[in-house]
């Protein structure tokens, strides 16, 4: 309801519309601001604290590499089983690998996992996946993971070969999706 202005030449009086029934507007509690102070978080955003956080993350690397290996094994097992519902499991494992690999600067492994996600994106639960394609990508992912480990131990990873393998997988994903009627 609008509280309209009165006449008589006076300037129109602006009115505030009431909130619709059942709508409440609540002020933020300010609890977090009081606890941490206005600029304390910005103060943390400096190269030294970021380096310290990255060093802390390094303590997890061993565990993360183990988890990545387990997820790849999970994908391989699910592809072999070819049972109903395995696609969701493969997607979940690939999704996790993609996220973890990115955080630990294993870009090529993340790209391989991303290709698996791209292949499975939008496929229904009953979709008949292409096991050969998934196997090819998983083999590439294993190779990328081994190369990342090599780099961590001071060796020189073969980035050219990884790029080549990933390009082949990327092309295959496009072709298979097209064949399955799920092309762009």
């Amino acid at each position: 309801m609008v509280d309209a202005a009165s006449g008589g030449g006076a300037a129109p009086r602006k009115a505030v519309l009431p909130l619709p029934d059942g709508v409440e507007v609540l002020a933020p509690s300010g609890q977090l601001q009081r606890k941490l102070g206005g600029n304390s978080v910005r103060a943390l955003l400096n190269p030294a604290t970021e380096r310290a956080a990255l060093q802390s993350l390094e303590t997890l690397r061993g565990n993360i590499e183990r988890v990545l290996g387990e997820r790849l094994t999970e994908i391989e097992t699910l592809v072999r089983a070819r049972e109903g519902g395995s696609m969701a499991g493969i997607y979940a494992a690939a999704h996790e690998i993609r996220g973890l690999a990115g955080t630990f600067q294993m870009e090529e492994l993340g790209s391989a996992a991303n290709l698996l996600c791209q292949y499975l994106d939008g496929a229904g639960a009953e979709h008949r996946m292409d096991p050969n394609l998934i196997t090819s990508i998983t083999v590439t992912a294993r190779h990328c993971m081994a190369q990342a480990e090599l780099a961590r131990k001071g060796g020189k990873p073969d980035r050219e070969l990884m790029a080549e393998l990933l390009a082949e997988c990327r092309q295959a994903v496009g072709v298979v999706r097209q064949r399955e009627g799920r092309g762009e």
Binding site: V2, V16, G22, L32, L45, L100
Partner: protein, 154 residues
């Protein structure tokens, strides 16, 4: 992913970090424990992060019903982002997660706190973020509406 987030938070001075395995157990904890903010993953077994956020926001009596929520996701498509926003998510943290990006999101929550809206169709932070002078406050917006009405009456 939980271990990564907890490690980063501790590295930045986080003191009390509560971790839960899945959506239902997180909701149980948030029902009684008023947390400063929560970080949830979109991809979780059973209940996804958006479902958790929606249910938490709609549980008025939950201790953390209005705590800021950061959602981690690798999904960048508009539909998913809008779905998260409409579930009452405050901030989205894109994967792969980096310490800097996480702290930046926490910074947004602290430095730009938003009002909360509780309506039958939506519960969560005010979804208008832009610092548009025309939409700076709900009062101003209402006044704009009244101006429009007065213009039509003229």
């Amino acid at each position: 992913m939980r271990a990564i987030i907890a490690t980063v938070l501790r590295a930045y001075g986080g003191r009390r970090i509560v971790e839960r395995d899945d959506g239902p157990s997180a909701l149980e904890e948030l029902g009684t424990n008023p947390v400063d903010f929560l970080i949830i993953d979109f991809a979780m077994p059973g209940m996804d992060g958006v479902q958790v956020a929606r249910q938490l926001r709609r549980t008025r009596e939950a201790a953390s019903s209005m705590s800021p929520i950061i959602l981690m996701t690798a999904h960048t498509d508009r539909r998913r982002i809008e779905e998260a926003r409409d579930a009452g998510i405050n901030e989205i943290l894109m994967k792969p997660v980096s310490p800097k990006a996480l702290v930046e999101r926490i910074g947004f929550i602290i430095e730009r706190p938003r009002r909360y809206i509780r309506a039958p169709f939506y519960v969560g932070p005010d979804r208008r973020r832009r610092d548009d002078p025309k939409l700076a406050t709900a009062r101003r917006r209402r006044e704009d509406l009244v101006d429009d009405v007065l213009m039509e009456l003229d």
